[in-house]
Amino acid sequence: MRHASSPTPEPKALVSRRALRWAALIGAGAAAFSVVSISVASFNSTTAGVSMNVTSKKIFPGVRSTSTWNVKDASAGAGEVDASDVFLTSGDSKIKTTGNWSSAFSSTRYVEFDFNSSKAGGIPVSTATFNFSFADNVAGNTACIYFEVYRASTSTLLGTYGSSGTPLACSSSSTTYTNVNQSIAAQVTSTDVLDDLRIRVYGRESGNKAMKIDLATVSGATSYANYTTYEQISRDRSTGTVTTTNWPLALSGDGTNYTSASNWATTFSTSRYLKFFFDPSVPTGAVITSVTLNFYYRSSFNSNTACWYGEAYNGATLLASYGSSGTPQSCNTGNTTYSTDTVTMSQLISANDANAVSDVNNLAVRAYMKESGGKATQVDLVQLNVNYYLD
């Protein structure tokens, strides 16, 4: 265009500048392509991919501890007396009578249960159910309840069943118990929650009287085993003022203990013992690598000496003995310090017992005792510790 406007046309160029620019560009591009191709070209080699499958255990190894809630006391030598936790089972005539409630629900009037944490963590839980049995303490009156589910460690409210306006259940009888079996599966979704569970039951009583509680447990299933969880701390705040009761055999050093129902003899007798049942809910197929029993005890009388030896049973089958009448497992003098015995129950591990899971799940331990002054004994802790895993 420029030359078109020139009054004196310039000599005609052999090649227009535009064409020259295009040609240079293409040529340079081709040359550059060849250089780049050379600079990046290289051989490489790759091994054939190899695959490895890795699977983790269903339940990692770990010690799970559970106390005993089912206790039979034969210290008198005249048969067994049920000394179990009052909330363990219904229909056993062992009940908890609360304080007097108000005739209207109040946020400061409740009974509360902290449950034990004996299950392997991190396992999905299904069908968790709160089992609660109660009755009015006065004929003709009516007691009603609703409850809340909490994480015990954080006091975080997880869910509510019923309300002050619409109670979950009522009882208008002082003799027939009302049974509540309320699913709390929406809140208790794993054993992590189950092992950290608190349930608070709000109540009212039409005559401002007490109510009776016969049962407070949580039951359900994991993928591997059924379970029941038991309370280890209960708080009665029915009156508005709290009274805390620890299940004495579940916690050591808490200032509570179980005192034998009767005085012991000064010598061992096969008819005088305490019997403890456990419910560790070890899954079928689990491998048990260790079992120990904590048994903390003392005399109830200053300067007297209490001694014990033990036997482990599954039903009527004697599995193992720990000490004997001639050689007690241990002795302890005085009523100020507990003997903190840990008994290794190596007969119950999988390596030594083909029925280890069954034997541990159905374990009953008899503690035969004698007391040098013929007095009662005090037991602070009975705890079974089971180390197991599930492949």
């Binding site: 040529g27 081709a30 080699s45 790759t46 091994t47 991919g49």
Partner: protein
């Protein structure tokens, strides 16, 4: 005039493009082989680059594992071609995947070391001892990764590196890693050495 000018430009354009292409071919030719018709022949052939694993335990899985477990698997990497390598990398992936490979902290960790001679194997479960000297090929790290650089390999054509892959399930792994399953794939890759005068 415009048509004639345009026509010349096209001719010139084609000419220059052809020259450029010729130049590029000539450039390539500098790396090619010439033969002559004289009695002396000069045959040049390209080398081969080959990375193989003539021996491998990596396909042997492990289950079920618990925190604190380790898994050792030996693998021999052979540079069986005629060209040495400049570097080698490892790429790992998982399918199916789980927390065992996605949890970089509490999931599986991988480390690789090399023995100057073949590892002495025991088991299963496999464990290995080195009768020579050992060196670190890969320091412990999360299992899954792409193009993970490997160190201290021989990489020389015709040589073999005796490697021991160790997977560790950290002792701090929590219950969320229970009942998990992953299938992990391992692929070793090598790149040829830089070009040299031949």
């Amino acid at each position: 005039m415009r048509r004639n000018s345009s026509s010349r430009a096209r001719k010139l354009l084609l000419t220059l493009a052809a020259l450029g292409a010729a130049a590029s071919i000539a450039g390539l030719g500098t790396f090619a082989t010439f033969t002559s018709s004289t009695s002396t022949s000069n045959t040049i052939a390209s080398g081969t680059l080959s990375l193989t694993a003539p021996f491998s335990r990596l396909g042997t899985g492990a289950s079920p594992i618990a925190p604190g477990d380790t898994m050792q698997r030996a693998i021999d990497l052979s540079y069986s071609g005629s060209i040495s390598f400049a570097s080698a990398t490892l790429t790992t992936s998982a399918s199916p995947s789980s927390l065992l490979d996605t949890d970089a902290t509490n999931g599986l960790q991988i480390a690789i070391d090399k023995c100057s001679q073949a590892w002495t194997e025991a088991g299963p479960p496999y464990t290995y001892t080195c009768g020579g000297s050992t060196s670190t090929v890969l320091a412990s790290r999360a299992l899954v990764g792409s193009g993970i650089a490997l160190s201290n390999l021989t990489l020389t054509a015709g040589a073999t590196d005796h490697l021991r892959v160790t997977l560790t399930f950290p002792g701090g792994a929590g219950n969320t890693l229970q009942n998990q399953s992953s299938t992990v794939s391992y692929t070793f890759s090598g790149t040829q050495r830089a070009g040299t005068d031949q």
